[in-house]
């Protein structure tokens, strides 16, 4: 069990000088290895092969100039079959992870005294519960969103259509490689592949300079993260000698490190090994848009909405969470890794929640809310509850995709209008019923209304935050952010969907403004997708009650899946551990293979066991947030349900309050000027340095070379007068030359140079 010094040392790190809790219970449980890794059936390769095939097909359609919706249907079919194969894989999975080998990729063999070691990185796939868990919602969402996009992108059929779906297929292939890869280099391949696809898809409207700039920014910021990941991968190989999960996570040295980490003495673990998780973290923050590297996600909204829904809400951004979950044992071995993850996640959640409150573009709000929710997931991982984090990934994937698709439908219908000050009362517009319902379900999930999926997953994270010693501060911040989330979510809902019907066309509308513009309601494809997603979001809450597994004492579906994978570590204080211990009276039953129980340490919160109390506390924060939103943003009237004072789309009761509290809302709206700060600290100095380098290169280095080139010419100019053409001149020079030469030689003799 990671003892209490673990997190307190982080607090010590932050407020140096804080007394470190010396209580260190002994370690009892021997680290059990992951079950032997078998080899799996070849049909698993369908999941990876099909999306790649669809992207190749789309390329061919583009070449033969196909104008129909064929690319869309190919991708939908491809992802659909992939989803079904994943389901079959899930059904047939008997608990022991296995690998499926496609073909050899990079193999270098070193012959050295210590036996010939070799670096193996093959195109092969490692299937265990975590992979299945991830692939289920990735392929599922991909199919749904591809269906949605078939209609949404229908206005520019032809090569662009093929290009979009080609990149879409390539994205699903890369995500599959990332999640299912059996070694860290395959993960890195998928990592960069999704980066490339997000670059291609964000830059889909390549005519718009902002889209191109956003795509470039996304790729470069991701690339900074990838650098961290790459260095981490190389360091892992150099330190542990292998990249494959099967070998890596059974590596005796790694298990040894975990043992010594448990006893709290991190001095035994070499500094190199402690660097690895820190580098992985940089990669995770880059890809999942956490605090230092989150700036690219809001700009990524330049891409079409299905892209934002799939890539920037559900799948790609969760890659960071997957990385940390997959390499969780390594994070345990580093002294500062998990605390940093927790704190960064919390800060990001709070920061982006504040920014989301002040935005007016609904897609931007959703983007910042994604960043905030990702912050929650990282906080979950940080405070020793991979189950909470991973479960939140699933629930968030569904309702955030739903929210994005609703915004997309709104944008599609109102000719690109996204500003919530220009839209109001869509609830009562004909044909927008399903969109409103979808939006509502999404919002209650996001806000964390009790008994919704969002509520359960967020609640586990916050509960664990309070339970894990030293992380109560994180818990309070997360609670406060939950309130803010509830507020800005329902701010959107009340401003856009309720109140008097009033809408203005976006800039893509060509006719003159005014009432002859009538929004065209979403088609059957969009509505059907929205409905399915709504059902899934609701069903996701059900997962909290079902899927428990008696003998491994797991309470719900997400927990069973996580506990059987490499991330099988559970905090001793987690609710599950306490229940398990309670049920089987064996104090160590509930803990994951590496944890033991120590009851008396569970810290009471507001007088009760945090697990039980948390339902009510977070529910309260959620509801308060919603009421505030209703009060300040909601419309007037309708049986007094809506107590807000808003009469039209433009203003609401919040505006005077905002004006009253000075510059803060203005700064929040400008995203706390983080972009500008980055530009000032990083981009401009680097550009100045480059110009300096350019000048150095042109003047100094080239100059030196030219000088060396010029020296002979200079010597020639000096000697030129000696050839004056006058006979006597030559004679004098000759005589002078002779004498000088003889003198120099004699000086050498006299100097005794002879000896």
């Amino acid at each position: 069990m990671i003892n209490t010094t673990f997190l307190t040392s982080t607090l010590a790190m932050l407020q140096d000088g804080h007394a470190v809790d010396t209580h260190a219970p002994a370690v009892t449980h021997a680290a059990t290895q992951i079950a032997e890794v078998g080899t799996g059936p070849k049909w698993i390769l369908l999941i990876i092969g099909l999306p790649f095939l669809t992207s190749i097909l789309c390329g061919i359609y583009a070449m033969i100039g196909n104008k129909t919706k064929l690319p869309a249907w190919t991708v939908v079919a491809g992802s659909g079959i992939a989803f079904l194969t994943t389901l079959a894989m899930y059904m047939s999975f008997d608990g022991t992870p296995y690998t499926v080998h496609a073909f050899d990729w990079i193999q270098v063999h070193f012959s050295s005294e210590g036996g010939d070691k070799s670096m193996i990185a093959n195109f092969s796939f490692y299937i265990d519960t975590l992979t299945i868990y991830w692939m289920l919602f990735v392929t599922g969402l991909a199919t749904l969103i591809a269906l949605y996009a078939s209609e949404y992108m229908s206005h520019d059929l032809g090569t662009s259509y093929c290009r979009f779906f080609g990149a879409f297929g390539l994205f699903v292939f890369s995500m599959a490689c990332l999640v299912m890869g059996d070694n860290l280099l395959m993960l890195y391949l998928g990592w960069e592949g999704v980066g490339l696809c997000s670059y291609l898809l964000i830059g889909y409207f390549y005519k718009k300079p902002e889209a191109v700039a956003a795509a470039k920014k996304a790729f470069i910021v991701n690339r900074i993260g990838d650098l961290g990941l790459a260095l981490g991968v190389y360091l892992t190989f150099v330190h542990f000698g292998s990249l494959e999960y099967a070998v890596l996570f059974n590596d005796p040295t790694l298990l040894g490190y975990i043992e010594s980490a448990k006893t709290g003495d991190f001095s035994a673990i070499p500094r190199m090994a402690q660097w690895i998780p820190l580098l992985f973290m940089v990669g995770a923050f880059g890809k999942s848009a956490q605090f230092p590297l989150y700036v690219w996600l809001p700009d990524a909204m330049e891409g079409p909405t299905p892209v934002s829904a799939l890539i920037h809400a559900a799948t790609m951004v969760t890659a960071g969470v997957y990385l940390i979950a997959r390499t969780y044992p390594m994070f345990l071995t580093s002294e500062y890794a998990l605390p940093i993850v927790a704190w960064v996640g919390t800060i990001t959640a709070l920061l982006s929640a504040t920014i989301a409150m002040a935005q007016f573009d609904i897609k931007r709000i959703m983007a910042y809310s994604t960043v905030s929710q990702l912050g929650y997931m990282f906080a979950g991982l940080g405070v020793l509850t991979p189950t909470g984090g991973v479960y939140h990934v699933l629930t968030h994937a569904f309702f955030k995709a739903l929210l994005f698709l609703c915004c997309g439908a709104v944008m599609h219908g109102f000719a690109g209008q996204l500003d919530l000050r220009k839209l109001s009362g869509l609830r009562s517009v004909k044909g927008w019923g399903i969109v409103t319902l979808g939006m509502f379900i999404g919002c209650i999930n996001l806000a964390g209304v009790p008994f919704t999926a969002g509520f359960f997953s967020k609640d586990t994270i916050i509960a664990e935050a309070f339970v894990t010693p030293g992380a109560s501060m994180i818990g309070w911040i997360l609670l406060f952010t939950a309130g803010l989330t509830a507020y800005y979510t329902f701010r959107v809902f009340f401003r856009v969907f309720t109140g008097p019907v009033e809408y203005h066309a976006g800039e893509e509308h060509h006719g003159d403004d005014g009432h002859d513009f009538h929004p065209h309601a979403p088609g059957w494809a969009v509505n059907s997708v929205l409905l399915t997603l709504t059902v899934c979001s609701i069903a996701a809450s059900g997962l909290y009650f079902v899927g428990g597994n008696k003998d491994t004492h797991t309470k719900h579906y997400a927990q069973t899946m996580v506990m059987a994978s490499t991330a099988n570590y559970e905090s001793p204080y987690s609710k599950h551990a306490i229940h398990a211990a309670h049920d089987s009276h064996d104090p160590n039953a509930g803990a994951g293979p590496r944890g033991t129980i120590d009851h008396e340490l569970s810290m009471p919160i507001i007088g009760g066991d945090p697990h039980k109390v948390m339902y009510y506390v977070s529910a309260v924060f959620g509801v308060v947030g919603i009421l505030l939103a209703a009060l300040l943003q909601g419309p007037k009237g309708w049986q007094g349900l809506f107590i807000g004072g808003r009469t039209n789309a433009a203003e609401c009761r919040m505006d005077p309050i905002a004006r009253m509290c000075g510059p803060i809302p203005k700064m929040a709206e400008n995203k706390w000027y983080v972009d500008e700060i980055y530009h000032m600290i990083l981009v401009t100095p680097l550009r100045i340095i480059s110009h300096i380098f350019h000048w150095i290169d042109k003047l100094l280095v080239d100059g030196l070379v030219n000088i060396f080139g010029f020296l002979p010419r200079l010597l020639a100019w000096i000697l030129k007068p000696s050839q004056s053409g006058v006979l006597q001149g030559y004679a004098v020079s000759m005589a002078g030359g002779v004498t000088i030469l003889l003198l120099v030689v004699f000086v050498i003799i006299l100097q005794g140079g002879v000896a």
Binding site: P712, L715, A716, L727, S733, M734, G737, V738, L742, I749
Partner: protein, 527 residues
């Protein structure tokens, strides 16, 4: 006494040919006059073959330098003769064609060829010199005729100015090295080179001996245009007609080097293959300065002949490195033998330089007023590969070879010098050699670029062919030589290596006498 005569049969053949030439040169019948260069050619061929056959003089310091040296002298001299046709008496022959009577008083053809043959004979004599007096006479015989050849080469003031400079500075140089020889004789007591060598190796180089050797070397540096004495070269090469400059580039230089080899042989290389400190350091400074001055000043030239003059100075600098390296321990392989490297490089250098001079001689500029003037400016060569491909390619091949571009002859020669220098431990001078061949690349590249590469941004001046086809033949032969000699490089190198094996004088095992006090009074001379 007659056995010495056996060694100079080739020179005798040449002498007979010279007399013949003097007669046929003035012959009223045009056909005989045109036959004069042929006589020289045939004589040279004969001399070359005889020289190749006769074994060297075993007693000399370099026993079998004679066959090899005389052979390459004859070979290159043939190239020179082909190149020299048509230098003088051009107007006279035109007038004779237009029916005017042949006035012997106006024709200088006879003297021209005679002087050329005298000079080549002198050169061969230098090769077979084993005596100070012989060496002095041979050197004078080589250079005196060239003064006159320069004077009568073109009927313009520039060649007269060149002649006056060449003559006076030549006389000065001759006086200096004569004084050197006198001192050497004074120190050694005998004029025979082998005896001098034995004396120096027994009693070491006295102060007078050292002074004598240094002054002799400095005097002879005039011939090879090394640093202190290089001032005349650019003006003389530019002033003289191209064929004569070609001859100046090869003949005095070869004579100079053969003489220097003879003199440094008398001084001798110690068991570490190094000359005595003073001689070595002077030669070292001379080599380094010659290379740098030659290469750098060539950068500024626009006249091709001046550029080639400076390039010949630079090449002398390269060859001095061979002297510094010395022949190495007896029986040393070719890569260690600096002298062999020089002898081989002389051949390569000769062939390359004559090639470019021949091309210059082969073309001429047609001025506005119908008269033709000699092509000298680098602009005259512009786009030569387009107008006259054969000549253009000759310039390109010869320039690249002089640059030391790998597969060509120049590179093999330079490689010989490189390996000799390094094997002798003279690393710094070899690095300077490397640097200088890089500096040299600039102006050789300019030659190649002007002839072959430039699209002629500026209109190519109309360089027409001069009436004498033989100069084109000389150019083509040297270009072919540069390429074809590669095939026979090995036999040539073996010849040079055999020529350069130096039988160092064996020091008598006398007791280590004290250095005789050099200037003991004449009065107390005792038996």
């Amino acid at each position: 006494m007659t056995e010495k005569l056996a060694f100079i049969i080739p020179e005798l053949i040449l002498f007979i040919a010279t007399c013949l030439v003097m007669v046929t040169g003035q012959w009223p019948v045009r056909a005989i006059r045109n036959f004069t260069p042929w006589i020289c050619g045939i004589a040279l061929v004969l001399a070359g073959m005889v020289a190749a056959m006769t074994p060297g003089d075993p007693a000399a310091l370099f026993p079998n330098i004679m066959p090899y040296a005389k052979f390459i002298i004859a070979a290159v001299a043939i190239l020179l003769v082909i190149n020299l046709t048509g230098t003088v008496d051009r107007e006279l022959e035109d007038d004779v064609d237009n029916g005017k009577p042949f006035l012997p008083i106006r024709s200088t053809g006879a003297e021209f060829y005679a002087f050329f043959m005298f000079s080549i004979t002198g050169l061969m004599l230098t090769a077979s010199a084993d005596d100070l007096i012989w060496l002095f006479l041979a050197l004078e015989l080589t250079s005196l005729p060239t003064y006159i050849m320069v004077a009568i080469s073109t009927h313009k003031n520039q060649s007269r100015e060149a002649a006056v400079k060449y003559f006076f500075l030549g006389a000065l140089g001759a006086a200096i090295f004569l004084y050197g020889f006198a001192l050497i004789y004074g120190a050694a007591g005998s004029t025979n080179l082998s005896e001098i060598a034995v004396h120096f190796s027994d009693n070491g180089l006295g102060t007078i001996g050292l002074a004598g050797v240094l002054i002799a070397l400095l005097g002879m540096s005039f011939k090879i245009a090394a640093i202190p004495m290089h001032f005349y070269t650019p003006d003389v090469y530019q002033g003289a007609a191209s064929p004569v400059s070609a001859m100046l580039a090869f003949v005095p230089k070869t004579a100079g080097f053969l003489a220097i080899i003879a003199i440094t042989a008398t001084v001798g290389w110690n068991e570490f293959g190094r000359l005595p400190a003073t001689v070595e350091s002077m030669l070292w400074i001379m080599a380094a300065l010659t290379m740098f001055v030659g290469n750098t000043l060539a950068l500024l030239q626009t006249s091709v002949k001046r550029m080639l003059a400076y390039s010949s100075i630079a090449h002398s600098g390269y060859m001095l490195v061979g002297i510094l390296a010395g022949p190495g321990p007896d029986g040393a392989p070719f890569y260690r033998n600096g002298i062999a490297a020089i002898l081989f490089y002389l051949l390569c250098y000769g062939v390359m330089t004559i090639g470019v001079f021949a091309v210059l001689g082969a073309i001429e500029k047609r001025n506005a007023d119908g008269t033709t003037s000699e092509a000298d400016d680098i602009e005259d060569l512009r786009g030569l590969c387009k107008t006259h491909p054969v000549l253009g390619w000759t310039v390109v091949v010869c320039a690249l070879s002089m640059l030391g571009f790998p597969p060509l002859l120049g590179f093999i020669g330079k490689l010989g010098l490189f390996s000799a220098g390094i094997s002798a431990g003279q690393i710094p001078i070899v690095i300077i050699l490397g640097l200088n061949s890089a500096i040299a690349a600039v102006y050789y590249l300019r030659l190649v670029a002007v002839a072959y590469l430039d699209k002629g941004d500026k209109p190519a001046t109309v360089a027409t062919l001069s009436p004498y086809a033989s100069r084109r033949l000389a150019g083509v032969c040297s270009a072919a030589g540069v390429v074809l000699l590669l095939v026979v490089a090995q036999p040539l190198i073996e010849g040079a290596h055999k020529a350069a094996d130096f039988n160092a004088p064996v020091p008598h095992q006398t007791d280590t006498q004290q250095d005789q006090p050099a200037e003991h009074a004449l009065a107390d001379h005792e038996e």
